[in-house]
């Protein structure tokens, strides 16, 4: 068991380990600690117990309303993105001409950054609303649907690629057998295609749920939370609590811990749920 590689720990692991400690592990532990304290600069932290957590929910309704807005946004965008992406994947795995071209076009928006995406859609949505005398910040409904359209435009192509890979992995003999047995296309879809691509569904749901919950750049660029704070999502609310209000650093950190717990619980519950539906292939 005397592995000669062991001596190489400093070269193989140290650089990553140091970077991981500085960028993530220490800040994570420090953040957890600071959420129970009141502080401005970190070194002046004073223990206050659960006070920050209570204040996060009671000082104002910003946090709760941003959470609720985020949930409403996530539900709608997760469903729409996955339905559209799956439909496109079904179309592009048939013998339609130009599948490669379509794949290229549909995936392209995914490479554009969130800030740029936000401003692109702001111009377009404002251009439409202008004709009716509105702008995207005149009503939170516009911001809500604007964010959903933006998120669909960005993520449909990405999820479609994953669904295409899943569909192409289905053994052709199963499809063949179903056809011989006289299964209609809807039966094939629900009895064979969807159960067979369960691993793709697992990963697509995971990616869309976590990305929807963590959305920040697009939110900042498209509406910045306006009107008022009514289109402000959790990530943006936490950012504003930290950087636009003095004396709220501890509350911001407590909100961040709650946010982390929510994302972790939802992500793990979803993974567990869909994994249990996956069939052995």
């Amino acid at each position: 068991m005397n592995n000669p590689a062991k001596r190489y720990f400093p070269i193989f692991v140290m650089p990553t380990l140091i970077a991981f400690l500085i960028a993530f592990a220490v800040p994570f532990a420090l953040g957890l600690f600071l959420s129970f304290t009141e502080f401005r600069t970190v070194s002046d932290a004073e223990f206050v117990g659960l006070q920050n957590y209570i204040r996060a929910f009671t000082d104002d309704t910003d946090f709760l309303s941003s959470l609720w807005f985020t949930v409403k946004f996530a539900v709608m965008s997760v469903i729409s993105i996955n339905v559209f992406a799956f439909l496109l994947a079904l179309m592009l795995t048939r013998t339609v001409p130009g599948t490669k071209f379509f794949r290229t076009v549909f995936f392209m928006p995914n490479l554009i950054g969130g800030i740029v995406l936000g401003y692109i859609w702001q111009v377009i949505i404002n251009g439409v609303l202008y004709r009716f005398g509105y702008s995207i910040t005149s009503n939170s409904v516009f911001g809500y649907w604007g964010l959903i359209v933006l998120m669909n435009w960005q993520m449909i192509g990405y999820m479609m690629i994953i669904y295409i890979a899943g569909i192409q992995n289905i053994p052709t003999d199963i499809m063949e057998a179903a056809r011989v047995d006289g299964a209609g296309s809807l039966t094939t879809l629900f009895r064979i295609t969807i159960p067979s691509v369960m691993p793709s569904i697992t990963i697509c749901l995971f990616l869309t749920i976590t990305n929807s919950f963590k959305l920040f750049d697009q939110n900042l660029a498209l509406t910045a939370g306006a009107p008022g704070k009514r289109t402000q999502m959790v990530a943006l609310d936490i950012y504003n609590t930290f950087y636009s209000r003095t004396g709220y650093e501890g509350v911001g950190q407590a909100k961040a811990v709650v946010f982390f717990l929510i994302v972790a619980v939802i992500a793990l519950a979803q993974l567990r749920f869909t994994r249990s539906k996956e069939v052995e292939s």
């Binding site: 001596r7 190489y8 991981f20 953040g31 549909f106 969130g114 740029v116 936490i238 946010f259 992500a267």
Partner: protein, 276 residues
């Protein structure tokens, strides 16, 4: 016969969807040549004799944002961070997969855990730490990106390394290779497809990242997303013409990168998802 007609209908639908996907980028491109006051009110019309302004939005935007410098910083940070991630996380992944110890197991799970933690959880403390340690510059941020990128990258590399048979490495050791040679001459070449996937996923993330560089180096060094957001400024009106021009300039490198390595990107994304 029936399926042929069906596929033809699908083709038309797909063309329409493709038009919807291209449309927003096209609108931005058209408006980047229009006079700034005729953008917000009517972005859907082509420039006319009165509203066409040539490249003046571009020169104005470059003056306002220092776009070429921002492009340089984005490129510098992305290239070197991705290179550092590939070099160091592949070695770490191999080491903690091959050398079994309690410490390595804990490190592996800590890295995987970091993938689901939202950035806001560590945003404040990380930027403070970077500041205290003097990492708030374009070189220091590379170390930060190595730390943040380590989770996904180690996870993907070690998923693949588990499938590489030990025999090849043992044979190389018997031939007199030391551990470093075994890794770089024998193991890494086998890892290349995974390395490409890891590189692409990290490039897409780091190139477009806004909040992390903004908090760590944003005051002194602006990357492209920071420069774009900076155009909006604190109060009042945005120069829409300059904004459109800068959006076009920031999309161009992405499109060039995409079209030149499209095959790898699409494969990499699909492969990355399977591992995830």
């Amino acid at each position: 016969m029936q399926t042929k007609i069906f596929d033809r209908i699908l083709f038309v639908i797909l063309l329409a969807v493709a038009a919807i996907f291209i449309f927003p980028v096209l609108i931005v491109l058209i408006n980047s040549f229009k006079q700034k006051f005729s953008i917000s009110s009517d972005p859907f019309s082509l420039p006319t004799e009165n509203t066409f302004v040539g490249l003046s939005n571009y020169t104005q935007g470059i003056d306002n944002t220092g776009f070429p410098t921002a492009f340089g910083w984005s490129l510098f940070i992305t290239v070197f961070s991705v290179a550092a991630i590939i070099i160091f996380t592949s070695m770490t992944a191999w080491y903690i997969t091959r050398v079994k110890s309690r410490f390595n197991t804990i490190l592996y799970y800590a890295l995987v855990f970091s993938m689901i933690v939202p950035f806001q959880m560590v945003m404040f403390t990380m930027s403070k730490t970077a500041n205290v340690l003097g990492l708030d510059n374009p070189l220091g941020i590379i170390l930060i990106y190595l730390g943040f990128g380590a989770g996904l990258s180690v996870f993907m590399f070690s998923g693949f390394i588990k499938t590489v048979p030990l025999g090849i490495e043992e044979a190389a050791t018997i031939d007199g290779c030391n551990t470093l040679q075994v890794f770089w001459k024998v193991v890494f070449p086998i890892l290349t497809p995974t390395a490409i996937t890891v590189a692409i996923l990290n490039t897409m993330w780091i190139w477009n990242d806004y909040l992390l560089p903004y908090l760590v180096i944003g005051n002194d060094y602006k990357t492209i997303p920071i420069a774009i957001q900076y155009l909006k400024g604190g109060y009042g009106s945005v120069d829409m013409g300059a904004m459109m021009a800068m959006l076009v300039l920031s999309i161009i490198p992405v499109v060039v990168f995409y079209l030149s390595s499209q095959k790898y990107i699409i494969k990499g994304v699909a492969a990355g998802a399977v591992k995830g």
